[in-house]
């Protein structure tokens, strides 16, 4: 049995057990008092007892989730002017609550609805008065491009969805909503284009989301890890993006998008390995430039995992591989270094990693200083002190730079991680160790699946047209077929014959 299956089984067991424990709060009529009791010690609860048109109305809402003016304008004012008419008619957005479903009532209240108890009429209404301050739409920091749309997702699901709706004016864009997280009650939206996306894939996403059992999700990356096929792999199997244009392109290619309230990212599934190396800008650039950049990124992957480890294996095992000129330079710079090459490389690689980490945590201005201080001072000083050879500093810097080239942040992290494996194997068995590790790495990548479809799909092509949008980006004229990876219902991107 696969661990994911095992995990799901455990989760269902727990969920069922819990369902039996809580026979839900049904049966009893809810009174304002009960609400107050449940929300004791909740400071931002506003509980008002009003008399409107000689009728006693209990009102509950959370100060932090609503705008008081809005509550006044949309709830109180119409009620006051209603002259005792049926509140359901007066308040067009109001909906009745079941008078015995405490759970749902609480849910609504906590989401920023205003709850109204009309005690005389034995009626409970809730009105959506949710209104909070939120971050405005800004440029994407982590996936910045020069050309193309600049907006990026924010932490509000509604705004994110609206950004997508604006781009896809089609009734085929379906948005399924789920609530997950036992404590946080996160709202999750699953988006797909009904006429393009593969039904089986949609079903898979649905079941996986429904089977997730966890207390709460603070961000999409957490949820993504729980939905992925192989959770133990260091490599991401779903795409993660904060850009609406990326998401739109993915939707049009027949992918399924998962978005979480409170997280400015969207997960794209299924996603292929090569897509982690492509940026939306590839389509904004001319095809020739884009192809060059894509090839550099992919080539960078090999260089970054093999460069510093080659230094180790060449210096330790295969000095014969050095041409005479290089040999002279290298042996000069190595002559004072007291460590074996493995230790030397690990040391410098870790220093770079620490610099990167320190740079991220610091405020931007200090971060830059740290970068310069670290890069120049530590680099130069360690070479002059004879702790590392200057060639190694060059190599490590190149490989560090190249490791940041993939547009996908998780992928670039994963690559940096496997690089240490290569360095250790190179220290153990030289060039053979590196190649063995490479074989292992690619066997692992070939074994990865995304929603059951192999991740290395365009690498080992499922159909030859995938290659046009894989390592290279062919001119738009040639990109006629959707990526086979998404197993789309309609294979062509434009109506030629097929439709």
């Amino acid at each position: 049995m696969r661990p994911t299956d095992w995990w799901r089984e455990q989760v269902t067991k727990v969920a069922e057990a819990r369902r039996h424990e809580q026979p839900s709060g049904r049966g009893e009529r809810i009174t304002p008092h009960m609400v107050k009791e449940q929300l004791a010690n909740v400071d931002d609860l506003s509980s008002l007892s009003l008399t409107i048109n000689e009728e006693e109305v209990h009102v509950f809402f959370l100060d932090t989730m609503v705008d008081l003016t809005q509550v006044y304008e949309t709830v109180f004012l119409p009620l006051q002017r209603s002259d005792g008419k049926d509140p359901l008619r007066v308040l067009p957005y109001a909906q009745p609550c079941q008078s015995d479903d405490m759970g749902r009532l609480m849910n609504n209240l906590l989401r920023g609805h205003t709850i109204l108890f009309f005690l005389d009429r034995e009626l409970i209404l809730h009105v959506n008065t949710f209104q909070v301050e939120h971050r405005s739409i800004t440029k994407s920091e982590s996936e910045a491009t020069v050309l193309g749309p600049q907006d990026s997702f924010v932490e509000m699901l509604e705004i994110n969805l609206s950004m997508l709706r604006r781009r896809l004016t089609t009734p085929n864009l379906k948005i399924l909503a789920y609530t997950i997280g036992t404590e946080t009650k996160n709202r999750v939206a699953v988006l797909y284009l009904e006429n393009i996306a593969n039904d089986e894939n949609v079903e898979r996403v649905k079941t996986r989301i429904q089977n997730v059992e966890y207390q709460g999700f603070v961000g999409m990356p957490v949820l993504k890890q729980m939905l992925e096929d192989k959770p133990y792999s260091p490599f991401p199997q779903f795409g993660l993006t904060g850009r609406p244009d990326n998401v739109t392109a993915a939707l049009l290619d027949g992918r399924i998008i998962i978005m979480l309230n409170g997280s400015p990212d969207a997960a794209i599934c299924p996603a292929s390995f090569l897509e982690m190396f492509s940026s939306p800008e590839d389509f904004y650039n001319r095809w020739s430039t884009a192809s060059l950049l894509r090839m550099i990124r992919f080539f960078g992957l090999f260089v970054t995992i093999l460069l510093t480890s080659s230094y180790v294996s060449v210096l330790t095992f295969h000095p014969e591989m050095l041409p005479p000129a290089l040999l002279t330079i290298l042996s000069q710079s190595r002559s004072q270094v007291p460590f074996p090459p493995v230790i030397e490389v690990l040391f410098i690689e870790l220093v770079i990693e620490v610099l990167r980490e320190a740079g991220i945590r610091m405020p931007t201005k200090i971060g830059q200083t740290i970068g310069i201080v670290g890069g120049i001072v530590i680099g130069t000083a360690s070479v002059q002190a004879g702790l590392a050879s200057n060639i190694l500093i060059v190599l490590v810097s190149i490989s560090a730079l190249l490791s940041f080239v993939p547009p996908n942040f998780l992928m670039s992290n994963a690559i940096r991680l496997v690089r240490y494996g290569f360095i250790l194997m190179a220290g153990l068995m030289g060039m053979y160790g590196q190649m063995l590790m490479l074989a292992f790495l690619f066997a692992h990548l070939l074994n990865l699946t995304s929603l059951g479809t192999p991740c290395m799909a365009p690498g080992v092509p499922r159909q030859w047209t995938d290659l046009l949008n894989g390592l290279v980006r062919a001119p738009m004229k040639f990109i006629v077929y959707r990526n086979r990876m998404s197993r789309a219902k309609r294979k062509q991107t434009r109506p030629i014959g097929e439709e």
């Binding site: 591989m321 050095l322 030289g430 060039m431 053979y432 063995l436 066997a443 070939l446 290395m456 080992v460």
Partner: protein
């Protein structure tokens, strides 16, 4: 992933599987094995290709009659439970031996060329573990790995030009200056490099397009023949006859001829990358052994894979002396291979007899 009988081998995977199972450790010494033929050895792969093609027809014919059964199931159906199982054990042993042959040959080469003051324990352990990992992914992962290995190693054919520049292509003349005895000797010595396509008998049930399987397998086989001919012609141009007869790993020396401005002695990289070819051969055979045990046990357990892996490891690292191992790998394995590629003819006859006598189908 695909543990069940899912038809998962698409045409391109079949071609990759055939090519990379055949190309393995034996290519390293191919020019040496066939050196009895002197400068004429370059066309020996074509002869071997013809033999292979002839033996593929009965294989496919047999498989067509049992499209959903591996060779192990066919044995049990045709030969009865106990005799069939006996033969199955031999086939499984053959598969394990082949996996060991590939690993052993490669690890010995590593020890002579790249890691010459180390024991083979650690390199072999690493190789075995990666082999285990890939095989654990099932035939589809093996096939996909084969195809990837083809991309990773195929570019090395371009390096042949360095050897080609040096020498005289005119060495191939006179064209047929050899005698039958040398040809037969060369064929016998080097036929080990053509083995690998017989695993077809096991993975046939997994092929998607069974009707075109013959074509795809033949494409694979003749691509291999083409590769071999290219390598051998380069060897002929680059080496003298004495060198081919006396150098154990001519490919190693061909690699050494390459000199790039930023890197010399490319053989370290080349032999390192060869691990892809070795793994693609040994994993296919290991998968074959595992499928055999599974088909006999009729269920899937991890030890079905662990057992052959461990055996193949201890064959090499265990108490067997190197000479005994060489005898097993060079003779026992190859003769078992000859047996296996001719075996389908016998099975076909048996099938004809049984179905003629039985249902009259």
């Amino acid at each position: 992933m695909d543990r069940g009988k899912i038809h998962s081998l698409r045409p391109v995977l079949v071609v990759g599987l055939v090519i990379n199972t055949m190309v393995g450790v034996n290519l390293l010494s191919l020019a040496h094995y066939a050196s009895k033929m002197g400068y004429n050895l370059w066309w020996s792969p074509i002869l071997m290709g013809l033999i292979v093609t002839l033996t593929i027809f009965p294989m496919i014919a047999l498989c067509r009659r049992y499209p959903e059964d591996t060779l192990f199931r066919i044995h049990e159906k045709l030969l009865g439970k106990w005799l069939g199982r006996g033969i199955n054990v031999v086939v499984i042993v053959y598969a394990i031996l082949n996996a060991s042959t590939a690993n052993e040959g490669y690890v010995r080469l590593l020890q002579t060329s790249m890691l010459n003051n180390q024991t083979i324990t650690v390199p072999l352990l690493g190789l075995t573990l990666v082999m285990f990992y890939i095989t654990n992914g099932g035939i589809k992962l093996v096939a996909r790995f084969c195809l990837l290995a083809l991309f990773f190693t195929g570019w090395m054919l371009l390096l042949l030009q360095y050897g080609f520049q040096e020498g005289g292509i005119t060495h191939i003349f006179p064209l047929f200056n050899t005698d039958l005895a040398s040809v037969l000797d060369a064929l016998n010595q080097s036929f080990g490099s053509m083995l690998g396509y017989e695993v077809l008998l096991i993975y046939y049930p997994f092929i998607v397009e069974k009707k075109k399987a013959l074509k795809h397998v033949l494409i694979g086989v003749w691509s291999v023949v083409l590769f071999y001919v290219l390598v051998l012609i380069t060897s002929v141009a680059y080496f003298s006859e004495w060198q081919m007869a006396n150098l154990v790993y001519p490919i190693l020396n061909l690699f050494k001829a390459v000199e790039l401005s930023f890197m010399e002695r490319i053989e370290n990289l080349g032999i390192g990358l060869w691990v892809f070819l070795i793994l693609s051969t040994s994993t296919t055979y290991l998968w074959m052994a595992r499928t055999g045990i599974e088909d006999m046990a009729r269920k899937q357990r991890l030890w079905h894979l662990l057992l052959p892996t461990a055996i193949s490891y201890y064959m090499i690292r265990g108490p067997l002396a190197v000479e005994d191992q060489r005898f097993i790998y060079d003779y026992v394995t190859v003769y078992l291979g000859y047996g296996l590629i001719l075996w389908p003819i016998f099975l076909l006859l048996l099938h004809a007899l049984r179905s003629g006598r039985g249902e009259g189908a």
